[in-house]
Symmetry: C2
DNA sequence: GTCTATACAGAGATAGAC
DNA sequence: GTCTATCTCTGTATAGAC
């Protein structure tokens, strides 16, 4: 049985240590509490990884328990069940994303922040540490819809992105032709772009190159005009309009 | 157990038919064969819908059997199992896509064909009739990877798209800065863009409007230059380059 | 070929000893 | 609080009557 953190959590050993020592009960409680939180962290960490790698439906609590080095029953002391556990993972993912946005250097302008956001989420996904939910048809979505903390965190992230979109549009870095709602959904969707998997699978590009191509597709879209329609049957836009962009 | 020769070995039915009917065995076999195919079609149709609505993992064979109006055991007379059934659904989806591409009017230029392809797949998805696999982490991907018919059909579709991409690039409708591989993956990924679900969910746009916005994001990207990078720390591209596109 | 009934496996969740 | 062992439910797949 793998214990990835390497810490000894055996309750009996812990008991012995507490008995032979004369530490005050305050310290005792604090110690146990610390261990408790540490185990919870280990669970959340491994669950984040498995969720990112396998997806909600394919991930099992047996896998989480084994990866975290504890019995499955322990999971239920910390969380009500699979849904509850994964909801908390997703909420923490959103909080990490918020933290990343908060830490962006002040000199960055809005469009740079948006690009940094997309790149960071894409990279995290390739590192099996996805902070955002990529699955559209997973059973967990029902639970997330009902989760107030999740909806609040998601709302915060959306608001932040929308502010920057407006700023970037005013600065002329995002084309004003994109509705705010469409631009926001595009950013959040491209941040978990399934194209990363497809491109990685071709083995034509490195990890970082794949991320950059995905970032480019996203930013190029927002910068371009949505009104380009090569298919309106007669219009054939001149080449020079395109070359003027580069 | 599949009966590859199509001959009926069942002792009961064969006996009855041979006794009470005087029709030549040829007609008899043809009629039964027709019914057999009809039921198989019904299974495939309902499975396509459920697969599109719920995804591979969430879809159950009980649902397929009930939707098709037959006992679950019948499914196993037509298909080896869930994987086999869904693989055939996906292959037929690819064939339908090929059929759509074959039917495009001759006057359409390459970029118009590409746009028509993306729009058609997106619409089919919203009609619960997805011809392409959107799920990236489903268990079915292993089976598809091993399925020769699927890989062949997918290869055919890819080749066709790549030809048109090259033509569109030569015509100046797709920016030459996009590598062929990236452009192809972008098209196939955008054709099943998860953004459709996200946008539909906001209830801000109608069915058709959502599809059009997704089509626009895809085509605008291919038309634009990938080398626009607002985030290269010092460069601040002029507004006029963007406005020149519209 | 189609049905009912059932075997079998996997995974979520719980019981009870320590 | 943690463990082992078990329950329960669901879903795939199969057996056997007709």
């Amino acid at each position: 049985m793998a214990n990835r953190s390497g810490v000894n959590f055996d309750p009996y050993v812990t008991n012995i240590n507490l008995t032979v020592s004369n530490r005050p009960s305050f310290s005792h409680v604090s110690f146990r509490d610390m261990m408790h939180r540490a185990r919870k962290e280990a669970i959340l960490e491994e669950c984040t990884r498995l969720l990112s790698e396998r997806g909600y439906d394919a991930m099992t609590l047996d896998q989480v328990a084994e990866a975290a080095g504890m019995a499955k029953a322990v999971l239920y002391k910390h969380f009500k069940g699979k849904e509850d556990l994964c909801c908390e993972v997703m909420v923490r993912g959103l909080e990490r994303a918020q933290g990343f946005l908060d830490g962006l250097p002040a000199r960055m302008v809005a469009s740079q922040r948006l690009q940094a956001f997309v790149r960071w989420v894409l990279q995290a996904q390739l590192n099996s540490d996805a902070p955002l939910l990529a699955e559209r048809k997973s059973e967990i979505r029902h639970a997330l819809k009902a989760s107030e903390p999740y909806q609040l965190a998601l709302q915060g992230l959306s608001t932040r992105l929308e502010e920057w979109i407006v700023q970037a549009q005013e600065a002329g870095h995002i084309h004003p032709g994109w509705p705010l709602l469409v631009a926001r959904q595009m950013l959040m969707t491209r941040a978990v772009d399934p194209m990363v998997d497809a491109l990685m699978h071709t083995q034509a590009y490195s990890h970082d190159e794949v991320v950059e191509w995905c970032v480019k597709t996203c930013m190029a879209t927002l910068h371009a005009s949505p009104e380009y329609l090569p298919l309106s049957q007669k219009a054939k836009p001149a080449k020079k309009s395109m070359l003027a962009v580069g």
